[in-house]
């Protein structure tokens, strides 16, 4: 397969100015982008139909890859790896930092995305449920949650949530500090050109930085490391300008809109309707229940009514008729 043929990268859709919200997808997108190869992004909203039921999927002619390591070794074979100009010591550093980020930051991110109650209910679940098409949107979020649970359990054996949080956050914060020290004042981790380590760091930090989390403990720590924050926005602006601009544009528009209609409660027109619907449903359910239990009976049965006897159509059973209450179907 010739090099000129573009790669096709299937990824989760993006949001908040990122080309994709998923960590693995971002890793691969950044890596391929840094390598300078041509590629096409194909947004995929349902991982069910992909070969391994996972995203991302990278295909180049006959070759199909599913994870970062495979793509990395493929790019190395094709001699377009972004780590090309590094010295051996720098390559060693690159490998070590990649592993460290995976070990220290990944469990914390999984926790923040999927296990933190506030974030899960307020951000992650609604987002994925909206994106994934109908029957699958009940299945995938659950699966991701159980995956995340396994990862977190593998890292810490402790029982209580606060202990787990403490451990994960302190590990992650140490990791962020190390990265910040490593980056220093440089443009990228190893000088002026992006490498695979930059791709990895970008993939881990960008969603953490951009997503509007409801519980932003780690996000705040990241924001205090200004050089890392600058690195992320630098990569966004230089390498994924379209997504970045689109998001900025959208945010500006929304800003104007929200300025115009900021006082009006957006829920307002539906409020009365919701109340009425709720009241109707409640009434219906209660009446149905009363009929089923036998509290209210339409009395007498139809044959008598046909005979024309003057009987009331609805007979309210008295509440102290306990025998009737217990055996509602017994007819006297």
């Amino acid at each position: 397969m010739s090099l000129n043929h573009p790669m096709i990268v299937e990824v989760w859709p993006g949001d908040w100015g990122l080309p994709s919200v998923d960590l693995e997808c971002l890793k691969i997108l950044a890596l391929v982008k840094f390598s300078g190869k041509e590629f096409k992004i194909k947004v995929c909203k349902n991982p069910y139909w992909t070969p391994k039921s996972t995203l991302p999927v990278v295909s180049h002619g006959k070759h199909v890859f599913h994870d970062y390591d495979e793509v990395m070794s493929y790019l190395r074979i094709k001699n377009v790896s972004p780590d090309h100009g590094l010295s051996t010591v720098e390559e060693a550093d690159c490998l070590a930092y990649t592993y460290m980020v995976k070990e220290k930051l990944f469990p914390a991110l999984q926790y923040i995305w999927w296990l933190d109650e506030k974030n899960y209910a307020g951000l992650t679940r609604p987002w994925y449920c909206k994106v994934i098409p109908f029957p699958f949107n009940f299945y995938y979020p659950q699966r991701f949650v159980s995956d995340a649970k396994k990862t977190v359990e593998a890292v810490c054996e402790t029982e209580t949530i606060s202990e787990i949080e403490n451990k994960l956050y302190s590990d992650a914060e140490k990791c962020l500090t190390s990265l910040s020290v490593k980056l220093g004042e440089k443009d990228f981790m190893f000088g002026s050109h992006p490498t695979s380590l930059d791709a990895v760091v970008f993939a881990y930090l960008a969603p953490l930085l951009k997503a509007p989390f409801k519980n932003p403990i780690l996000q705040n720590h990241l924001k205090s490391c200004t050089n890392l924050q600058k690195l992320v926005s630098r990569i966004c602006q230089r390498y994924f300008p379209l997504d970045y601009q689109a998001f900025e544009h959208k945010r500006k528009n929304e800003g104007i809109k929200s300025n115009l209609s900021s006082d009006v409660d957006s829920d307002y027109p539906h409020k009365t309707r919701n109340t009425i619907v709720a009241a109707l449903i409640a009434t219906f359910a209660m009446t149905g229940y009363a009929f089923m239990v036998g509290l209210v009976q339409s009395f007498p049965p139809w044959p008598l009514a046909i005979l024309g006897e003057p009987i009331p159509t609805v007979h309210l059973k008295l509440l102290w008729d306990w025998s009737r209450m217990r055996n509602p179907h017994k007819r006297e």
């Binding site: 060693a92 460290m100 070990e103 396994k150 593998a154 020290v181």
Partner: protein
Amino acid sequence: MKNSSNLDKKDKSLSSCSNNSNLSIESSNVSLEIDVEAKLKSFSGTNTLEQIKKELLKNWDTNSVAFLNGGDVESVWLGKEPWPDDVKLYQPYETEQILLPDMANCLAVQAFLKMCQLDFTVQYKANAEDMSPSGRVPFIKCGACLVSDLEPITNFVASKGVSLTDHLDPAQRSDMRTYMSLVNTVLGNAENYITWVENETYSNVTKPRYGSVHPFPLNHILSFLKRQSVTKRLNALGWYRKSLDKVYEEVERACNALSERLGKERFFFGENPTELDALVFGNIFSILTVPGFPPGLKLADIVRNNKTLMRHCRQIMNLVAIKDNIENPVLHKAFIRQNAQKEAVGDSDLDEFVYEESDDEDKLWKDETTQQIQDYSCLVNDENMIYDSLFGKTPQDMELGAISDPESQLY
């Protein structure tokens, strides 16, 4: 300002020790003053607070550093003993029970403590794993504190004022942490994979050794449960699904990265060893010396081909006074027996002590009694069952009890 920063550091390390979480407390000058006042109050009842404070401020520049670093004063002031003599390091039996990943961690901690020149005695316990607060070996008992794993132990030792990393700048320190996590992730997981996931090694080495200290039904049940939990952990970390070749490849890459980083230097960071050196040594040495089946031997070969790491390993062996033959592959006796049965039936030379040959060159042991216990437990046992020797009422057992001190026999 140097003084206050020094004090700050002390306070930080102290607080991180006391609640054992790594939240650093930013002690401002105000809180520091209050702290000092409180300590002074308890220290001397006769003089008024102001007098002592004045005196202290007068001498602040000259001897405050020595004042705070001096062992006796520190112990009175900060309520901490410097480093007690009776520190014990608990680990499983080396000759009979211990497995590759545990061996690596135990050696790393031992090497680290020796590098710090701190005294400790090694206690061999069959149930060290269950005694440990974190469920992992080794752990040290220092006064009332139980600390397990290398990283908490380094923090703990640092809180006693001993650190191997004081001379490093922040960039080097973050590099060190990074390489430690590289070693833990790749070598640690690869060791676990070989020991617990790989079938041949599991049934021939891991299961008999892990079960050797338990009576009949328990040895099967416990090793099965342990295998389950390790497998679950490796699965979550993404290592369970890897093929053996992929594991070798990752180990090789990690070893190359380590040797590139080491280069021609003696140690990883300058002329003095750090905890990274201890960790690398622990892993490399135990991969080389723990007898294994072909999968483990392949791992050892990968390491053995790496000249830089071998040199580093030998250097640290000199430093911590461990002698062993790391040049030749060590086969497990069960493997030798298998091959012997295939080749020639009735070869009487090959008994179960064959793999001990590598241990014959006298290992230097700190504690002679513990060595004796190990030897005896090895001698009285047939087929790796040291359970009987520990719990059964045999004549040998009585003899054993008479030789060793009674305390080490307690569980």
